[in-house]
Symmetry: C2
Subunit: 342 residues, 2 copies
């Protein structure tokens, strides 16, 4: 006994076919109350034979939960996000949650658009990657409040925890590494202004290390960059036009660093003989390019996992007391750095 094929079979159909009430069907679906074994079998059979699948919207409507978490990220070109999503996806799957993906190109307008949309779709939680939290974000998230975790940088909002690498310390250590290798002329290609992590924290780490080593800061050795290979290339071109080159360069993102390396090489400079390069992120490409790029390593995958676990706690009202979770990092020395004789 089957049902027509053109329209989805509902709990009602199953009930009729199995000769029970819809409540009973609901009980066997959710295992929520004891059901006579023989009845259960009959219901199960009816469900399988008719390819019954519960309607998540109907269920969600009454249970007031969607088993959906929203992810708001700028893009994928930066492979850091690939790992992040991967971590989120795997963890979410474990909790039987699904992912609603929103790509914003880093534009506030899009972020707001998607945040509103996620609200409408009734997601149970949101993992947000934004270059900086603005009042516009908060307004949407707080009424009524929806569990939200910021990834990639520190959040200053009380009810929005964050998961990120310690951008300041990591950058500090990266530059100190360069200093310990004998470098004194150290430039930086920093991230875009307005990006708290790559633009601000990493720059501050660089400046602190320079200062602590008693080195005079050279403002014209700090060049703005972005996140792409192309922007790295351009930033480097810019620096090449301004006179004396530093002996080492700290670049706020690996892709940018690789672009800078390409630019240097095309202009006949050798790495690391003429210029040493230190990146940040340890993306796949970094150990593939030649020379292999030295960089700051951390796990975006782990950020994804941690953020997702945090969201689950928030959803279950277990409230993360750990407002900010910092994932470990380490400086990796590969072939792009040489030691300078002092």
């Amino acid at each position: 006994m089957k049902v027509v094929n053109s329209v989805a079979v509902t709990i009602k159909d199953v009930a009729r076919i199995a000769g029970v009430s819809i409540a009973t069907v609901s009980r066997v679906i959710n295992n929520t109350k004891p059901v006579n074994e023989e009845t259960r079998q009959r219901v199960m059979a009816a469900m399988e034979e008719n390819y019954f699948r519960p309607n998540a919207m109907a269920r969600g409507l009454v249970k007031k939960e969607s088993a959906l978490i929203g992810i708001v990220i700028p893009e994928f070109k930066n492979t850091v996000f690939d790992d992040l999503i991967d971590g989120i996806s795997n963890t979410a799957k474990f909790y039987k949650y699904d992912i609603l993906l929103c790509l914003t190109q880093g534009e506030l307008r899009n972020e707001i658009h998607y945040l509103n949309l996620l609200r409408e779709k009734q997601v149970d939680g949101i993992i947000l990657s934004s270059s900086s939290l603005k009042p516009e974000h908060i307004t949407i998230i707080e009424r009524p409040i929806i569990p939200c975790i910021l990834v990639g940088q520190t959040s200053a909002v009380p009810f929005i925890p964050s998961v990120h690498v310690d951008n300041f310390s990591a950058s500090y250590e990266a530059v100190i590494t360069l200093i310990n290798k004998g470098h004194r002329k150290i430039g930086m290609i920093r991230g875009p202004l307005g990006d708290n992590a790559a633009g601000e924290d990493r720059l501050r780490g660089y400046m602190a290390a320079i200062a602590d080593a008693g080195i005079q800061l050279q403002p014209n050795w700090i060049i703005p960059g972005g996140f792409s290979v192309q922007e790295g290339f351009e930033a480097m071109s810019l620096m090449l036009g301004t006179g004396e080159l530093p002996t080492a360069l700290f670049v706020a993102a690996d892709r940018t660093a690789i672009g800078a390396m390409n630019c240097l090489q095309e202009h006949g400079y050798r790495i690391p003989e003429d210029v040493s390069i230190m990146g940040f992120d340890d993306i796949d490409m970094s150990s593939v390019v030649r020379p292999k790029l030295s960089t700051v390593q951390y796990s975006s995958y782990e950020i994804g996992v941690t953020a997702t676990r945090g969201i689950m706690k928030l959803i279950r009202g277990e409230g993360t007391n750990t407002q900010h979770t910092v994932v470990p990092h380490r400086v990796i020395i590969r072939d792009s750095i040489k030691t300078v004789e002092l």
Copy 2:
């Protein structure tokens, strides 16, 4: 006059506040029937002041549509998927659709799991990237039928259209290019068995080109590879252990090609002087590595856009008569290929 902040405001609240019926509120939300301008203003005000957002689950339940499309892909490590998603995301946004993302690691079990889940979530359509369509997939998709488009390879199922590059012809042309450059000893690192596109079609293209050029096929020059840099490295190591090397190598995926290049270089071989390399995909990395990789270029972004448009047509019952859409490709010669004197 506002409503408590701890729970979402509903159409009912808005109606009460604006002093109208919920039907009227619904009408102004959806612009579905004329409403007195003054009334409309009052309703709009009530909605804005109370941050009203329609509940998509409730709406979806009655309208029997979710404004959601599901994407099922293996992973992101292959940056081809980044562009794909990007294309899908942008196009979906245009149609006011959202994306439910499912990562399968290429495992059939996961694909089935997610396909079922997407069904439950009532997605209006599915964009699927699977190494090959199996009966298990079909069963889920066909009862009742849900709009689905396969990306990356040809579909043999009547009600599942596909969008992809012509893997056979593109590979054929790539190898012919090598032949035209004077190469006669041409090996291949192919994709994994069971992958129709990279594993089968691209291999057939290679073999056809070899055959058409009257070259004797050397089975031991065809090595299995995967999609990762690592697998390319290993495949190349394998080939290095088997005696004479071909003068040119066609590799079914750029990442694999890059791994192979690294392996060759580490063993002291020069590219392209000792071995010429031709890849497939034209990922970002390909023009970043040195030597720049020659490859087959096509737009995954365009595949995403086309597939999404197709899904929208399917959803609207406009039925795509174009069962298979092929996106253009072209062979790009960069620095990894040298011309052999005949």
